[in-house]
Every structure is written in structure tokens, then in C-alpha cells.
């Protein structure tokens, strides 16, 4: 088995491109430079990303990202909808890490409201955030391996992803975009069958992840394609505002689940992030595989320590009243009616709530004017930020490596274009 020496900690220098950081222009007027389009409809661009690459032979000397093919105006849509209805919009951005979108959106509304979320709800939210992370990373691994020519992982990963989605279907009623997270907690309590099934899945996936790890770490072709390719030095990663696994692959200890004490139930669970050392394509894959393990650990910790109590806050001005009261209580009926039709009002103010989605810092900036709809919503999608650095990273690499680097940065175009 071929072994590759891990490179020493001498990081290559990588400068932020100028004048446009996300755009690489060829340095010389080489007449042989060939401009080719990758995408917007290309299997390896993970959606509708168009990369305009300039090639000198097979070497990338120029690169430009063309975004916006799946722009659906989600931020503007959110400003047109009541807070309650907005919950259904956010998961449709990052459709692979859908539940983190819901949680972040609800957390920002809760912060504006100053609403306390019951502990049980926080734990349930963590379980499903980690499940959605597993889902996202499984797809990343599957599609990423296809990009590098390995088809087997795709089938394995998609099979396991469906097992994860089974849990979503069981608890929330929908396999994706579950709108399970609600302002003040979660929509429903866990059903009786959840815990055994979840533990079964954790056991199953632990086993499988070992297998996939082997398929990556011990695969010489894989290593040839990834080790030392697309190295992102930590200083550059920080300059380019990379976050999530892409940042941690470069050894920077920054994970919102642990940084500044974390958020939600992560505060109590005490998470320590997975870090890699070399910041290359291999590490970006490796970090995600290891994160799947830690996700499984977190799910187990949550299942062990799941507190009892309500699954949603008892705030009649925000949370829908219990259904049986609609037939007896005038007050409940009025509150139900108003929350459904007009929506609850949120005090004027502005918040920025970042949460750790599967691909990094997913930020929600929300301004309320005191009405039932947000006055302004601005989302910080991690994919968008990650894509900005690809031009600098891919500089001087082979075209085939560009695909590997792109896959390792794990962009989701719905997230990117919003």
C-alpha cells in the first residue's frame, strides 16, 4: 500500500486575489490560454454553478465564478411572509443541511422575542441538527467521490442517507424540509419509537463510517488525487472568512458549537471540534468523515440525557395554543386565529444569529420593525463564502484538481444563491 508522507507544516503562501478576491485572471497574455465553461449544467458542479476557467494546457490560470442560477429571492420572500410562515422557506436554501436553516431562523426570532426555549426542545433540536449534518456529509461524501471517479461510495452514502431521512419522516412527517423547528421549540414531541430506532441508526452508521473511512484513507488513488491538492493555509482561510469543516481542515479551532460556549444544548453537551492539519483536499474530506462520528456521539449524548418537560415554550402570544382548547376557550381561539392569519408581532430590533450548519457559519441577520413580518432578512450562506476562495486555491492546479477542490469545499448552490 502506498503511503504518502504528510507534508510538513510549512504552509504555502496564498494571497487574496486582487482586485476581485473571487476572480483569478491570467497573469500573462498567453495566446494559448483556452477559456472553457464548467457548468452551469455539469454533473460535478453540484447544482448550477458556472465556472469559467482559463486553461494553459491543463493548468488552471484563470477562474471566475458565475452564480445566481438558482436565485429565488428567499430573503425577500421572508420579508413578505410572517415569521411563522418563514420557517418553511429557510430549509429550501441549503437543502442538504435543511434543519440547521430552520433552527437558525427560529433562534434569531427567539432572540428578537427574548423567548426562552425549553431544554427538551433544545436537545431535540441538537439531535436533528446532527442528523441533518450526517445527511449532508453523507451526500457530500457520495457525490464528492463520484467527482473523483469512485462510484461505489455514492450508493453506500445514499443508502445510509435514506436511513437518516427515515428518522425525519418518523418524527416530523417529512423526509426533507420538515418545518419541525418552530419558534419556541419544536412542533411535536418525539414518538415512542424514536429512541430505539435512533440508537440503531447510530450503531449502524458507526460501523459504516469506519468502512467509508477505509475507502478514503486506504485508497491510494484517492490519496493521489487529494493529498496536497488545494492547500488552504489557515491565515488565508481566515482572511477569506471560510468557516465550518473547510476552516477546521486547515487546523483552525473554530466551531460555533463550541466557540464562545456554543449555543442551544451544545452549551451543556460540551463539544470539541474535529481538526485536521494540512488544509488540503484530503483533509477536507477527512474532517467531514470524522465529524460524522462526532455527530453520532452527540446524538447518543442527547438521547442519554434527553430532559423531560415541554417540547415548546408556553407563550400564548407566539406559540399556537393547544388544539383541544380551540373548541372551548375564546382566548385560545383568538390567539390561534391571529397567529395563523396575521402572525405574532416581534419587538423592533436587529439580531445576528450564526449557527454551525453542515458547511459552516450560517448567519441570520434579521431586522424587525415591530410588525408581524421581518423588515429585513439577510442570510450569510457558508457556501457562498466558501466559493469565493476557490479561484485562489485552484490557481496553478490541474483542471481535474479543480473538480476535486470544488467538491471538497462542499458548496450547495441553493444555499449560495438563496
Amino acid at each position: 500500500m502506498a503511503t504518502t508522507e504528510r507534508p510538513t507544516k510549512l504552509w504555502p503562501t496564498l494571497e487574496v486575489l486582487s482586485p476581485i478576491p473571487s476572480e483569478l485572471s491570467p497573469s500573462t497574455d498567453n495566446p494559448d490560454v483556452l477559456e472553457i465553461n464548467l457548468g452551469p449544467n455539469h454533473p460535478s458542479t453540484h447544482g448550477v454553478l458556472r465556472l469559467v476557467a482559463k486553461l494553459d494546457g491543463e493548468i488552471v490560470v484563470g477562474l471566475r465564478n458565475e452564480l445566481g442560477y438558482v436565485h429565488t429571492g428567499i430573503e425577500k420572500n421572508l420579508e413578505q411572509k410572517t415569521y411563522w410562515k418563514g420557517i418553511t422557506y429557510v430549509p429550501r436554501m441549503d437543502y442538504l443541511s435543511f434543519f440547521t436553516g430552520e433552527v437558525g431562523y427560529c433562534m434569531s426570532v427567539e432572540k428578537l422575542l427574548g423567548l426562552e426555549v425549553p431544554r427538551r426542545a433544545e436537545y431535540i433540536r441538537v439531535i436533528f441538527q446532527e442528523l441533518t449534518r450526517l445527511h449532508s456529509h453523507l451526500i457530500f461524501l457520495g457525490t464528492g467521490s463520484v467527482d473523483l471517479g469512485g462510484i461505489a461510495l455514492l450508493f453506500y452514502c445514499f443508502r445510509d442517507r435514506d436511513h437518516v431521512l427515515d428518522l425525519f419522516e418518523m418524527v416530523t412527517g417529512q423526509r426533507m424540509h420538515p418545518r419541525y423547528c418552530q419558534v419556541g421549540g419544536v412542533a411535536e414531541d418525539l414518538p415512542r419509537g424514536f429512541e430505539p430506532e435512533a440508537r440503531k441508526l447510530v450503531r449502524y452508521l458507526r460501523n459504516k463510517i469506519g468502512e467509508y473511512e477505509g475507502l478514503i484513507e486506504k485508497n491510494p488513488i484517492w490519496r493521489e488525487r487529494t493529498v496536497g491538492v488545494g492547500v488552504i493555509p489557515p491565515d488565508f482561510a481566515i482572511k477569506m472568512a471560510l468557516s465550518g469543516p473547510n476552516l477546521r481542515a486547515s487546523g483552525v479551532d473554530w466551531d460555533l458549537r463550541s466557540a464562545n460556549g456554543g449555543y442551544g444544548a451544545y452549551r451543556e453537551l460540551g463539544y470539541s471540534p474535529v481538526l485536521a492539519e494540512n488544509g488540503d483536499t484530503f483533509d477536507r474530506f477527512w474532517v467531514r468523515v470524522q465529524e460524522m462520528r462526532s455527530s453520532l456521539d452527540l446524538i447518543e449524548m442527547c438521547l442519554d440525557g434527553l430532559p423531560s418537560g415541554p417540547h415548546i415554550a408556553d407563550d400564548r402570544k407566539v406559540v399556537l395554543p393547544p388544539r383541544h382548547e380551540l373548541h372551548t376557550s375564546m382566548e385560545s381561539l383568538i390567539h390561534h386565529f391571529k397567529i395563523v392569519t396575521e402572525g405574532f408581532r416581534v419587538p423592533a430590533g436587529q439580531v445576528y444569529v450564526p449557527i454551525e450548519s453542515a458547511r459552516g457559519e450560517f448567519g441570520f441577520y434579521m431586522v424587525s420593525d415591530g410588525g408581524p413580518k421581518p423588515w429585513r432578512v439577510r442570510l450569510r450562506p457558508p457556501s457562498f463564502v466558501a466559493l469565493e476562495s476557490i479561484a485562489a486555491v485552484a490557481n496553478g492546479h490541474y483542471l481535474a484538481d479543480l473538480i476535486a477542490i470544488l467538491a471538497s469545499l462542499d458548496p450547495v448552490m441553493g444555499d449560495c444563491d438563496r
Partner: protein, 177 residues
Amino acid sequence: MLDQVKGFSVTLRHLFRKPVTQEYPEYRRPVYPRFRGRHQLHRHENGLEKCVGCSLCAAACPADCIRVVPAENPVEGRVSAGERYARIYEINMARCIFCGYCELACPFDAITLGNDFELSEISRDALVYTKDMLLAKPERRTPSKSVELYDVPVQEMERVLGMYDVITATNPEGAPE
């Protein structure tokens, strides 16, 4: 040489494993009882429609796919149990995102989301479901898994916080597997 043997042994092992593939449509995998599929309008036991045409579902719908036109309940031949009824009730399934907010919004448990998900049609017009279609039972029922196991909350919190308990109780598709 050894590597080849190891490689083929993996292949051999998989030969004897049960495949994960499910032969749809011959095999129809039961959905979980909380699954949100095709909508269903309900009637009271006396045959009157539960829907009174209050349009709360339309107000709650984030995709704006529900259209309700109410009318005064006739004295002879009442349609619903209330003062008014839905003269027109349409759901545009092409727009529906199956979020279930209509089900949450309905104060009379008149609309629920059932188990069926095979809704594809050749034309978009056929995806606009009328009240008659929604009141009728679907032709092919998708089976559901155990309600006891997969719907009843692990804590007996329904009494205090039962956002969903009534829906669950009235879920007609919620028959055991």
C-alpha cells in the same frame, strides 16, 4: 495477489446480503403515521362537512396554494356544520409544499394530510384538486406504520401541550401497519 483476494472476498460477502433495494411499485413501503402527503377533507359522522370555509388554511399556507370561496349554508340541505361552508375549496398540488400548516391552522380538524404521495399528473390543471376530490377517499391507500409506536409522543404531554394530538386522533390513515 492478496489484495485481489481481499477485494473479491468483499464482493463475495455482498452476494449473500439481502439487497436494500425495494421493488417499487410492487412493494409499497409503509409511511410513518406522521407523514404528510395528499390532503384529505373530512366529514362529521352525520355526513356534514367539517370545513366551514373559514379560509384559515389559505391564510396559513406559505405557498398560497389554497383557494376557499365560502357561502351561506342553505337552510335546506346543509353542507357543513357551521353558518357557512366552502362553496369552492381548491388546493393547487403543483404549488403545495406539504408543510402541513393548513392542518395546523384548521380549527375544526377538517383538513389533514394523509399518506399518499403518488400525485404526479400529465397536466398542471389536473393538479388543482377540487373539494370533491379532497373529500373522496384516495383510490389507492398508502399503508402506514404503527401509530402506537411512531406517532404517540414519548411523553404524555398531549394534555398540556398537545399541538398535534387532535390531528393524530383524527388521522384516518393512521391505521396500524
